[in-house]
């Protein structure tokens, strides 16, 4: 396939754009002629929830807010969370630590402005801290920030200081990676308990490389390069997310040329050759795992089945996780080494895991008193070995996982129901803790502290993904606490190892798969840099080249 600059020659792209362009040529000319740089169209299978950093819950929203808003500094390519090494200045052009390292002073870039022209001031940082940590706002990022940061003070219009509560090694990462400075002059007028419905949450004003243009719910989100961005103009002038009702349609949009990028391709799509689209390997930092409910429904009584550690371990042994991972997340998907994503710096491949051994599982179940009945289901004291796996209908990958697990456990005599719930029913069940097993899927942020949310006693009652099974083990708790306060990476690693091994031995969950994510990118994209765990943050460096012009340039060329 060859093409000369600017002229589309590829056959596949011809039909539809030609039809549209034909209509455009006949009827319309360009209203506004956009500048150089072009338009990037990202195909997405889900809409954002709200474009307000303290309250966004969905990854899709982060893609937009990370480009519209700017943080004080950006994490380096090595994703170091244990200190500020490698972090690059963004809103703050420099920072300095106090002698005891318990406070850090930021010097803001004087050329930083909000998209409405107002300059960014230190007050905005302090205001943001107040807002994030205000209990009326209910921000989970705010909770994390408030745990390590005591307050933010302002010395002059461009200087502010953050005061930490304790010498937690990841305090810089938690504060700077979590706190997004917000425009005080706009948001101070909004009552704190109605931020979610405020116009700002749906039409944000930030200070990042792109400014918000419009959001048509369930259709698309559009942002455009900010005028004179103080850290250098992004190459691509416009970014549009086109939202499809489901993944299959979203992927097709890239293949038909309607979009340039899709975050996940299925294995079939990634391996099938498509003109104009190439697969791009991203670092997967998603972890899928099953959680056993330790208690019976919402009560404090131990779960009739899963309160027994031996049963949990037997069921773990009965699961062929390699086959499961291969089927669900393709041949490059991997089985986790433990309760963590292998992309974390605390990852340890030497831990002791329960092996896949169906015979051993069967023997274990026999010895626990579960006898095989005539209907191929095991019974003990007249009760069957029956339980259900709960998954949200929005996550296909988890639903499929449940189906495979169900069948594998059927082979050892368990009667498993896979319940696919719509999100409100799911939320209700999670809140009331009425489930047997739930499959979770978390994005591993660069910090390993996520294991605390998932498995420590202090997370019980925090809702959602925080220890839904209400597992409590003092050994794990103290190991995690030690890891979080350890002064060096080596020391922290050792403590994490203790926690991880305890979790593997106790089996309050089964860690199922880690997908290696393959994205699909149009060949007209020049992906200059690609941060593998958060590809969207690299968008300002991307360029749009090659043939098949899009958007304003298409019509401009027609004239």
């Amino acid at each position: 396939m060859t093409f000369t600059r600017g002229k589309p020659v590829r056959y596949h792209e011809f039909g539809r754009p030609a039809a549209i362009l034909g209509l455009v040529a006949v009827f319309g000319c360009v209203g506004d002629s956009a500048s150089r740089g072009g338009t990037l169209v990202v195909s997405s299978a889900g809409d954002a929830d709200v474009l307000f950093p303290p309250l966004t819950a969905l990854a899709q929203s982060h893609e937009v807010t990370d480009l519209v808003f700017e943080k004080l500094a950006a994490i380096g390519p090595d994703l170091n969370t244990m200190s500020d090494a490698g972090w690059t200045p963004r809103l703050a052009q420099s920072w300095s630590w106090s002698r005891d390292s318990m406070s850090v002073t930021f010097h803001l870039n004087p050329r930083a402005t909000w998209h409405d022209g107002t300059p960014v001031r230190a007050n905005d940082v302090r205001f943001a801290f107040d807002l994030y940590t205000d209990p009326k706002v209910h921000s989970s990022d705010g909770r994390d920030i408030a745990e390590v940061t005591d307050s933010v003070s302002v010395s002059d219009s461009l200087t502010c200081t953050a005061w930490f509560k304790r010498a937690a090694p990841e305090r810089f990462y938690t504060l700077v990676g979590g706190l997004v400075p917000l425009p005080e002059h706009i948001l101070s007028k909004v009552p704190r308990d109605s931020l979610l419905q405020s116009p700002f949450a749906h039409a944000p004003v930030g200070s990042g490389p792109y400014k918000f243009v419009k959001w048509e719910p369930k259709q698309r989100i559009e942002i455009a390069a900010a005028d004179r961005f103080y850290l250098g103009q992004p190459r691509v002038t416009r970014v549009i997310w086109t939202i499809a009702p489901e993944l299959k349609t979203a992927v097709q949009r890239v293949f038909t040329g309607e979009a340039d990028f899709i975050e996940t391709l299925t294995p079939a799509e990634a391996s099938a050759p498509h003109d104009g689209v190439r697969p791009v390997r991203l670092r997967g930092n998603v972890l899928g795992y099953a959680v056993f409910n330790m208690h019976e429904d919402g009560t404090n009584a131990p779960h009739p089945l899963f309160g027994d550690r031996a049963l949990r371990r037997a069921l773990s042994m009965a699961l062929d996780r390699k086959t499961l991972a291969a089927n669900i997340v393709d041949t490059s998907g991997r089985v986790p080494y433990g309760p963590f994503s292998r992309s974390l710096w605390s990852a340890d491949s030497t831990l002791r895991q329960a092996p896949f051994d169906v015979d051993a599982a069967r023997r274990a179940l026999d010895s626990l008193g579960w006898r095989m009945g005539k209907d191929s289901v095991r019974y003990k004291n007249g009760k069957p070995l029956a339980f259900s796996i709960v998954t949200p209908s929005s996550s296909e990958i988890r639903n499929r996982t449940a189906v495979v697990m169900q069948e594998q456990w059927r082979q050892v005599g368990a009667k498993v129901t896979a319940e696919v719930l719509d999100f409100t029913a799911m939320g209700e069940r999670m809140r009331a803790k009425k489930f047997d097993i739930v499959i979770m899927q978390t994005f591993a942020a660069p910090s390993p502290s996520g294991v605390r949310q998932a498995w420590s006693t202090s997370s019980i009652g925090m809702g959602g993904a925080n220890n839904p099974g209400r597992y409590s083990n003092p050994v794990v708790d103290s190991a995690i606490d030690n890891a979080l306060t350890a002064p060096t990476v080596t020391a922290a690693r050792a403590h994490y190892r203790v926690a991880y091994q305890a979790l593997l031995d106790d089996a309050p969950g089964i860690w199922l798969w880690e997908p290696a994510v393959t994205a699909g990118a149009s060949t007209r994209l020049d992906l200059a840099t690609l941060r593998p765990d958060a590809w969207w943050t690299s968008i300002p460096t991307w360029g749009v080249t090659g043939s098949a012009p899009r958007g304003a340039e298409a019509a401009a060329k027609k004239q």
């Binding site: 039809a19 209203g31 086109t242 309607e258 939320g427 959602g464 019509a555």
Partner: protein, 326 residues
């Protein structure tokens, strides 16, 4: 015209009763099922207190009767509430969805209905000939295909393989805004062509069966034979004697079918990603978005009542001999 008044009053009264019953039922049943709009967006991080605060703020912890009265009061004064699943006022969501559905359904229906009248008439006149019989078989065949299958097939063949039509959505996201009004119109037309044609085909075959039967019935009437015997041109006979008397059932069906298409077009809207009422309603139900669901139910019920009343009126205008059912 004097006959119309009692008819209209009776119909209005009837429709109002139906509306009140259905809306009340929906209101009560929905609140009794587990879950509320809070969980739709934030279950990953929310705590019990946040949930309780949400419920208190929006009044979902009050007794159902109290909530009902409050809602009715607001609704009648034009405040349709806040949609939690769309994070926008319900009026906005409803207006957008309604407009989008109309854009799709009206052309689809008009095309299909006109095609049905033409097809049905032709089939009735050519009754017994093999081509007409074949077309009747085709009709049954097409009607046996479930709409989602038809929509999938159309999308696959025309959009993905032949690349003749866009693969869904209402507009081309990259181009749309930089176009003039004419260009934007063309863009929307290009996107609605395939789903509208798919729907039109179904409508055409569905309505044509009624119309064919009606025409057949009329063809045997005396006045048709008289008209023919008196030497009138065939097209005149069709136009002045056959069609006006035969259109009754087709119009009656139209009155029922069209409003039903708005919310019932959910499969086609899903497959083509068209942001209409059907999709909005499904998402709202699954998201326990009370306010939005109620508003849509009210609008649908009113639309259907209006539609069937209108259909009856038109039928009477065409053929004064039709009895109006009070």
């Amino acid at each position: 015209m004097t006959r119309l008044r009692p008819f209209l009053l009776a119909r209005a009264g009837h429709a109002l009763t139906v509306l009140v019953v259905i809306v009340t039922l929906v209101f009560v049943l929905f609140r009794l099922t587990p879950g509320d709009p809070f969980l739709a967006r934030s279950q990953e991080h929310a705590t019990e207190e946040e949930h309780a605060a949400f419920r208190a703020r929006w009044g979902y912890d009050r007794p159902i009767a109290v909530q009902y009265v409050k809602w009715v009061g607001n609704f009648v004064s034009g405040d349709f509430g806040w949609s939690h699943s769309a994070q926008r006022p319900v009026r906005e969501v409803l207006a957008t969805a309604f407009v989008n559905s109309t854009l799709l359904m009206i052309p689809a229906f008009v095309l299909g209905w006109l095609g049905a009248v033409a097809l049905g008439t032709w089939q009735a006149f050519r009754q017994g000939r093999w081509l007409a019989r074949a077309s009747e078989t085709v009709a049954i065949g097409v009607l046996s295909i479930p709409d989602f299958v038809m929509a999938l097939a159309a999308l696959w063949v025309f959009a993905f393989r032949l690349r003749l039509a866009p693969s869904g959505g209402m507009v081309d996201v990259a181009l749309h805004d930089s176009l003039t009004l004419a260009g934007r119109t063309a863009d929307v037309v290009a996107h609605l062509a395939l789903p509208a044609l798919t729907l039109a085909v179904v409508v055409m075959f569905a309505v044509s069966r009624y119309h064919r039967a009606a025409v057949l019935g009329v063809l045997h009437e005396d006045y048709v034979r008289t008209a023919r015997a008196s030497g009138a041109a065939e097209s005149d006979v069709v136009r002045r004697h056959v069609l006006p008397n035969a259109l009754g059932p087709a119009i009656a069906v139209a009155g029922i079918l069209l409003p039903g298409m708005f919310a019932g077009g959910v499969f086609v809207e899903k497959v083509f990603a068209w942001p209409g009422m059907g999709r909005t309603l499904v998402d709202a139900v699954l998201g326990r978005d009370f306010e939005l669901v109620q508003a849509i139910v009210v609008v649908s019920t009113v639309a259907i009542a209006l539609g069937s009343a209108l259909a009856d009126i038109v039928a009477v205008t065409f053929n004064p001999r039709v009895q109006l059912d009070t």
